[in-house]
Subunit: 321 residues, 2 copies
């Protein structure tokens, strides 16, 4: 069996979740790939976290060049968060011929073109399934199984926090403030919820979806966005009276004047499959000129669901190696 | 650009649909694969159909050995229908090192083990994304992007005809006979609807799903099944009164006593995402120990949706060649 050497940048929720899956499902993953997986380096200051996961703190490094220049690393898993620092490490890793897997939507969206080109130059794979929709395997499907299609529209419910808040406002009659406080108490929302409720997180994901569906790169800062903070009970009631549900949609559509794109709340008819996507669930709804409409539904966050997508990417690379 | 040579067995709805997509989306498919695609042989008696699709009747053969023994065929697309005859051609093609793509669930389900082994012996790819859920890219996701998971349950609404009938009974108050007649008039149901309404078609698809999710092969004849012919308005009413919807579910679940499987109508709670899958739409709902629940939704039939999955498989093979 071929031994694949992994370097983790960050072992927080998602990095740790991915490592946990590699342990939990070791036998089936080895059987399905014909490979063994070994963590040779980690960039993680918290040695207690390494011990907690059963990793030897000896493999921890503080200098990222010891990862992107290393001879004993095949795949770099970037799960640090942030934008510029992780992007720089990913770029150097790809240029050095190391495959890169990341769930970091902000870093991917802000640097998509550069990362994609670096992968080409380094003849390395750059995979980021976990960056949109967590565990939902939509990005791979768009790039591979649906590759026979010219895509005409993509609509995503790609932020679990805002979907949870809107669901509670619609179904329980809670105000925005009540629903946000509940989401924070349940750990679905950060104490500073700006990135979620103002649509910034969704704009990152829409940028990635557009790159894949339409082959155009739009920096997330250039995507018009409206969050959910101004939604009132009157809006919720108006949606209900027209047999609709309000959803925060990251949407892009091919038109005669080019691709139109926006993150904004929309009235979705209750007969539309996106209307039934509730609470913290995510869904990506794509229209292609051959397949017509397809929807992918599942958990957009969480250690193991998001880790599932990260390890799926690791497996795909291992099978190709 | 590498030229990939295709042989079509059958150019009916799905075979013709796949060929149509190769023409319609020629530029983007060439760009995404770096390959050109050329049909070098077809097994199709109807020369008018070839001319209608813009193919030269000169490439038609009546003897399948001229395809599975041919030097000028890389990928065989089997879209004949039937079981033994197409399975034999697929086996010989795979053994001869030709890649095979098929939407033919009955032939795949009845011969899964043999076809899989033949692919191994011939070092050829055997792909059948279109055999379950038409255009929905669930099978590839189960085998690839979700490969980090141990699967614990799979539930499919995988027959559009019965889902259409059940939807009309539930939402319009039609009787089974009225809904069936309407489905036949609209072309969703065959004049002899036995295979659909008795769950035979769904059992074929469940057999394939179990092979992929659980690595066990059960011949479709050995899958317990109950169709929808005995469902009455009383059943529909009882489901409604318990906030459920009746769906024909092709389901399998890992239990302590092994995998339990059955095709049968079930009461699905209205809060479950499968309850919202209406009319002729299909969905495959999978639970894995890492990703938790994931659902794939889309069109389970039709020339272009099913052709999308066939061409997706062709593209995957071309990228590997």
């Amino acid at each position: 069996m071929k031994n694949i050497r992994l370097a983790f940048l960050g072992l927080g929720t998602v990095g740790g979740g991915a490592y946990e899956i590699l342990q939990m499902n070791k036998d089936i993953i080895e059987e399905r790939t014909g490979c063994t997986f070994q963590v040779t380096r980690v960039l993680e200051m918290n040695h207690d976290r390494l011990r907690q996961l059963g990793l030897d703190p000896e493999i921890a490094v503080t200098d990222p060049s010891l990862i992107y220049n290393a001879d004993d690393v095949d795949i770099v898993i970037e799960a640090l968060g942030g934008i510029d620092f992780p992007a720089e490490i990913m770029l150097k890793s790809l240029e050095n011929g190391k495959h890169v897997v990341t769930p970091n939507k902000a870093a991917v969206a802000a640097n998509f073109d550069k990362l994609w080109e670096a992968a080409g130059r380094g003849n390395a794979q750059f995979r980021f399934e976990a960056s949109v929709g967590g565990g939902i395997p939509a990005l791979t499907a768009i790039q591979e199984a649906l590759a026979a299609n010219e895509f005409t529209e993509v609509m995503g419910i790609v932020n679990g926090t805002t979907n949870y808040i809107l669901t509670k406002m619609s179904e329980e009659g809670w105000t925005y403030d009540e629903a946000l406080a509940d989401a924070q108490a349940k750990g679905f929302a950060e104490q500073d919820p700006t990135s979620d409720v103002e649509g910034i997180d969704a704009a990152n994901k829409l940028s990635i979806l557009m790159s894949l569906c339409f082959g155009i790169y739009v920096h997330p800062d250039d995507i018009p966005r409206e969050g959910i903070t101004k939604i009132t009970m009157d809006d919720i009631e108006e949606a209900r009276s027209t047999e609709c549900t309000i959803k925060l949609i990251a949407g892009a559509e091919k038109t005669e004047d080019g691709v139109k794109y926006e993150v904004a709340p929309r009235f979705i008819p209750n007969s539309h499959p996106l209307a039934g996507v509730k609470n913290e669930f995510n869904a990506i709804y794509v229209t292609g000129n051959a397949v017509d409409e397809v929807m992918f539904y599942g958990k957009g966050a969480g250690a193991l669901p998001t880790g599932s997508a990260v390890v799926g990417d690791i497996i795909a690379i291992a099978r190709d190696m």
